[in-house]
Amino acid sequence: MRKIIDTMIEKVIFLCGMLSVIFVILIFSFLFIESFAFFRGFNIIKFIAGRYWYPDSEPVSFGIFSLLVGSFLVTLGACLIAVPLSVMTALYISEVVSKNVRDILKSLVELMAAIPSVVIGFIGMIVLVPCVRKLFNIPTGLTAFSGSVMLAFMAIPTIVTISEDAIRSVPRQYKEGALALGATKWQTIRRIVLKTARPGIIAAVMLGIGRVIGETMTVMMVTGNSSRIPHSIFEPVRTMTAVIAAEIGETVSGSMHYKALFSIGLVLFLITFIINFAAELFLGKNKNK
């Protein structure tokens, strides 16, 4: 009897584990099938490199280059803001403050991750966008820059939490060894702690980017949604995610436009997949040491 329960439980756990894998495969195949159908009717190179996204005009053009640039720009800006801030925060939490303050700070940072993206977008619209407009004296505050700032907020908890783990898993003996040789605290952090924790910190950044690039609601609310190639970060942009979210409701199921949106989804999926995979590689490298 006990043996039967044992094997049954084993089977259930196996099934649960397999289910998530199956779901990923299903999503991927679904995206792939729809995209494949799309690419039979529309040249893939025109799709990736085309400058114009005119799904409703005649003749239609499904070029996502401007959207790729939009996503890239917003993500890059978010990284430039979030990475230094997060790594410093992680260092502060793990190396500087006392234990009590550390616990409070950590839970606060983790709480940041719990803010719904629509709320972050809302705050961006009400507070940040008018500020950006006035501060830089530009016609609209709905810019790639505003998107980057708000997305940085969303990436910070991920990057801080994971890099803080990496920094804290640096063996105490390394730090003591460095200090005992006369290194100052900062020298120890820079030459030993950051060096040892580097794979973990890179993985944290990757996961942060993964989160940012897939983010939809916030960017839709603060970046202005203009699908043309911007000349600077202080111009409105449109991201891949925003296009899908904004247009999927208006398309006829099975139309070229509908399939084109799925193709964008496939591109996004591939990008995040590669980023997550790279992050796993770095995390794995960290563990083997």
């Binding site: 003591e176 060894g177 460095a178 040789l181 006369g182 100052t184 030459r191 040892t196």
Partner: protein
């Protein structure tokens, strides 16, 4: 910069611990320690686990400072300067009082960079050839050079434990300290490696004042000139090693060295 190492010269230096107390938060780990350690001799500190011997050692280069909740009273004078004085530059103190730890702890960087680390962080020299010379000299001093001279740029973690511990000693020697503290330096090594490290320690005696914490009494008898015996955070007896092991004056010491534990 009270403890600048060039100032030391050839003073008959010593370490004087005066009414030193140390607490971990509420735990009274060291109780009224008084001890005078003489220059260019090997002193071992023995005693059962938890008696405070490592804590005392770690107080001499103030590496205990980084443990949360540690506070102290009393003085430790090195070359007549109280290292617990506010004016002491702790980084310079630590450079002059080197430390080798219980578990070999080479940094996860190359062998060469491990030895060069102390030179770089202390800004002793940024001249490449001087650094290379010092690395070579330090590795020769610990008899490691011949084995590893062809793989200096490999990770230090590829070495055996014994080699790693030698590397850690080389790393300390490279910054030219006056005192070397060793915290159970052989506890993770096999008997052959222990013997080799002990030989090395005895060789270093001419140039450095050495203090070793050990729970291995044979080791204390083999390598040291003086031995301190500690129990429950107190210093029970401090004398010539020979006297401690053959004719101790305190009952507790005699019980301990003859193998009667509590």
């Amino acid at each position: 910069m009270l403890l600048n190492y060039v100032d030391f010269g050839k003073l008959m230096s010593k370490i004087e611990v005066k009414s030193f107390d140390l607490y971990y938060t509420n735990f009274h780990a060291l109780k009224d320690i008084n001890i005078n350690i003489v220059d260019r001799r090997i002193t071992t500190i023995i005693g059962p686990s938890g008696c405070g011997k490592s804590t005392l050692l770690r107080s001499i280069n103030r590496i205990n400072d980084i443990t949360e909740g540690v506070h102290t009273s009393g003085e430790i004078n090195i070359y007549g300067k109280n290292i617990y004085d506010n004016k002491i530059n702790v980084d310079i103190l630590r450079r002059n009082v080197g430390m080798v730890f219980q578990r070999p702890n080479p940094f996860p960087i190359s062998i060469y960079e491990n030895v060069a680390f102390g030179l770089r962080v202390n800004r002793i020299s940024s001249n490449r050839s001087i650094i290379s010379e010092t690395v070579e000299r330090s590795l020769k001093a610990v008899l490691l050079w011949d084995n590893i001279k062809d793989k200096l740029h490999k990770s230090a973690l590829t070495l055996t434990l014994e080699e790693q511990q030698r590397l850690c000693i080389a790393r300390v020697i490279a910054v030219a300290p006056h005192i070397i503290l060793l915290d159970e330096p052989c506890s993770s090594l096999d008997p052959v490696a222990i013997q080799k490290i002990e030989e090395l320690i005895i060789q270093l005696k001419d140039r450095y004042t050495i203090i070793i914490v050990t729970h291995n009494m044979q080791q204390a008898a083999r390598v040291s000139d003086d031995t301190a015996f500690m129990l429950f955070g107190k210093l029970i007896e401090f004398d010539k090693t020979e006297k401690i092991f053959t004719n101790p004056s305190k009952k507790e010491t005699e019980d301990y060295v003859s193998g009667r534990f509590w």
